[in-house]
Symmetry: C2
Subunit: 326 residues, 2 copies
C-alpha cells in the first residue's frame, strides 16, 4: 500500500437504472461509508455521468478523505460492457449505446476508473467478501427489476468471447409462456423478476383477488416495492404468497438447468428481490432446483442467498479497482 | 515419440449403449483403421468390458500392429464418469453403477487406459481435429439417442466441480411440455433427440398422417433409423419434414439459451442425428437460435455442424490418450 503513494482507498460504484451507489473501502475491503443518489437516466448519458462523478466525490468527502487518497474507482454498469475500452456498449435500462463511461469519468475525477458489467461486479463482491474465494466454480443469479447472472470459473470471472456471458435472465424455460421484453416467450425473467412479481400481483388484484397490499397502498398498488411483498406475506396474504411461491419454483427450474449445465460448487442468489424475499423464496427455490438437477450432479452443490444485499455491487466494483491497481 | 520406446500409436474408444468403436491413430492423429462391435449391455458390465478389450485388440491387429506399439488407450463412456479414479459412476444406458472401467481394461490390455465422458471426448476430438484449437470458448451439443454436451473454456475441457458439467439435454425449455425419462417435463431432449423424433413420427403415422416411411419400413416403422428420416425428407415427405423442422426449432432455442449464458465463439452440433440430418436441420436451428440470442451476444458466434460424425468420439479419446502420455 505504501508503494501506492499513500493512496489507501478504493471506490466501488454500482450504477443502476434507478440509483447510483458509491462506497469507499480501504484496501482490506472494509467499508468506510456509502453515498446514494438517483440516476435520472431520462436526462441523458452526460448528465448521468456527471451524477456518478458527484456521487463518488460526495462519498469521498463524507469519509473525510480527498481524491488524492483514492487509488482507483471500480464501476459496475448494467448491460453489455467492454471493460477493455471502458465502454458501455448497450444498456437498455439506461437507454445507453456506446457510451465512453471510463474516459468521461476519469476526465471528471482524475482517478483511474475500471468498468465491469453489474452482475459480474456483484458476483466478484460476493466471491471475495462472502465466499472468501473458497470455491473454484460459482454461479451468481441476481434477481432485481430484471434478472442477470455471472460465473466464476476456475477461480476467475468468466467473461465469454465478447464479455456478455451470464445473460441467464433470457433463458427460455417455457416456450409457450408469456411474452418477454426481449421479444421471445417464457424467459426466466418473465416469471421471477421484480417486474414479473409486480405484474402478477397487480393482475391478481385487478382480477378481484384479495390482498392486504390494497389496504397498504391503495387499489392501484402505486409505489409497490419488494419490501411490501414481504410485509404482505408476513401478514398472511395468501394471494401474494402464492405468486411469490410460483416465482420461486420457476427460479428453482432455472437453477436446476444451470447446475446441470455448469456443475458449480455453489449457486448464490442475490439482487433486490432476493434481499427482500430470501426467507420467503429460498425453501421453494431449493426444493424446485433439487427436483430438476440430474442425480449425481446435485451432490455437493450448495444453493444460498447472498447476505451482501445492496452492497454486493459496490464491494465487487471495489475489488475490481483494487485488483487492477495492485 | 522415440522417447516413448517406439510406442507410436494411440487408441481411441467410443463406448456407446449400442456399439463400441475403436480407432487406431498415430501421434499426429492420422487414423490407421477402426473396428466396431455391438455393446450388448444386457450381458452385464464384465462382458461389456471384455468386448471393449476385444474391440481394441481387433483394431490393433487390423492395422498390423502389436499392443507393444500402443502408447495408451483413451475411452469415452456415457453418463457420469470419474476420470481421476477411472470409474463410470452412473451410466443409465449401459445400466452401470460404479464400474472400475480403467482398472478392468488395463488388466486385460496391459496398456495404460484413460477415461472421459463421451460428450467431453467428442468435443475434444472436434476441438483438436476440426477446429484446430483456434477458439478459446466452444460449446458442443451432441444429439443422438439422447442429448448431451460439453464445453471448452479458456482452451480446456470444462469439467465443473464433480465432472458432470455439460448436461444440457435436461435443460427445461417448456415447463408444461411432455414428460422426460428424467422425471421432469419439457427437457430439450424430449423435443430433439433421436428418440423424440422417432416417437413423434410414430405418433403421426398412428394418427393417420401420411409418410413414405411406412412404404419403406412397414406400418410399425420397425428398425427406423436417422438415415431413413433423411431419405423420407428427400423424397418429399411433409409429415416427417415438419417433425424434423420442429425439433430443429427447439434445438435453436436451446442453442440460444446456451449462447446467452456462455457467450462462446462457436457452437458445434454433432451426434448421430446431426450426422444424418445436418443439411435438413441446420438452417432452422441457426434461424431459431438467432432469434433467441440477445442483441450484442450473437455477434461473432458461429453455429456449425461437425463433419467428424461418428469419428468425433474415437478421435477425442485418442487426443486424451496422447495428452496423458506426452
Amino acid at each position: 500500500m505504501a508503494d501506492n503513494n499513500g493512496k489507501n482507498f478504493v471506490i466501488g460504484v454500482d450504477l443502476g437504472g434507478t440509483k447510483i451507489l458509491a462506497g469507499v473501502f480501504d484496501t482490506k475491503l472494509q467499508s468506510l461509508g456509502t453515498t446514494k443518489i438517483s440516476t435520472k437516466p431520462q436526462r441523458g448519458s452526460d448528465a448521468v455521468i456527471e451524477r456518478v462523478a458527484r456521487c463518488v466525490l460526495d462519498a469521498i468527502d463524507e469519509c473525510d478523505l480527498s481524491t488524492k487518497q483514492v487509488r482507483a474507482v471500480g464501476i459496475g454498469a448494467p448491460g453489455a460492457v467492454d471493460p477493455e475500452h471502458g465502454e458501455v456498449i448497450f444498456a437498455p435500462n439506461l437507454d445507453w449505446k456506446e457510451v465512453a463511461l471510463v474516459k468521461e469519468l476519469e476526465k471528471r475525477l482524475d482517478i483511474p476508473v475500471f468498468l465491469e458489467n453489474d452482475c459480474k461486479a456483484c458476483l466478484l463482491g460476493v466471491y471475495e467478501q462472502e465466499l472468501k474465494r473458497k470455491q473454484r466454480h460459482v454461479l451468481g443469479i441476481f434477481i432485481g427489476t430484471g434478472i442477470g447472472g455471472a460465473m466464476i470459473i476456475n477461480g476467475e470471472l468468466y467473461a465469454g468471447s465478447s464479455h456478455t456471458a451470464g445473460e441467464l435472465g433470457h433463458m427460455v424455460i417455457d416456450v409457450n409462456g408469456p411474452k418477454c421484453s426481449c421479444g421471445n416467450k417464457g424467459c426466466f425473467e418473465v416469471f421471477s423478476s421484480r417486474l414479473a412479481l409486480f405484474r402478477a400481483i397487480q393482475a391478481a388484484v385487478k382480477d378481484g383477488q384479495k390482498s392486504v397490499l390494497t389496504e397498504m397502498l391503495g387499489d392501484d398498488l402505486k409505489d409497490l416495492r419488494s419490501g411490501d411483498i414481504r410485509k404482505a406475506i408476513r401478514r398472511g396474504d395468501k394471494t401474494v404468497e402464492k405468486i411469490v411461491e410460483e416465482a420461486a419454483e420457476y427460479t428453482g427450474i432455472a437453477v436446476g438447468n444451470l447446475v446441470n449445465i455448469l456443475n458449480p460448487e455453489i449457486v448464490v442468489l442475490g439482487g433486490g428481490v432476493m434481499e427482500a424475499l430470501a426467507d420467503e423464496m429460498m425453501p421453494a427455490i431449493v426444493k424446485s432446483a433439487k427436483s430438476h438437477v440430474l442425480p449425481g450432479t446435485y451432490r455437493n452443490v450448495e444453493i444460498i442467498a447472498s447476505k451482501l444485499g445492496d452492497n454486493a455491487g459496490i464491494t465487487g466494483a471495489a475489488v475490481l479497482a483494487r485488483e487492477k491497481t495492485r
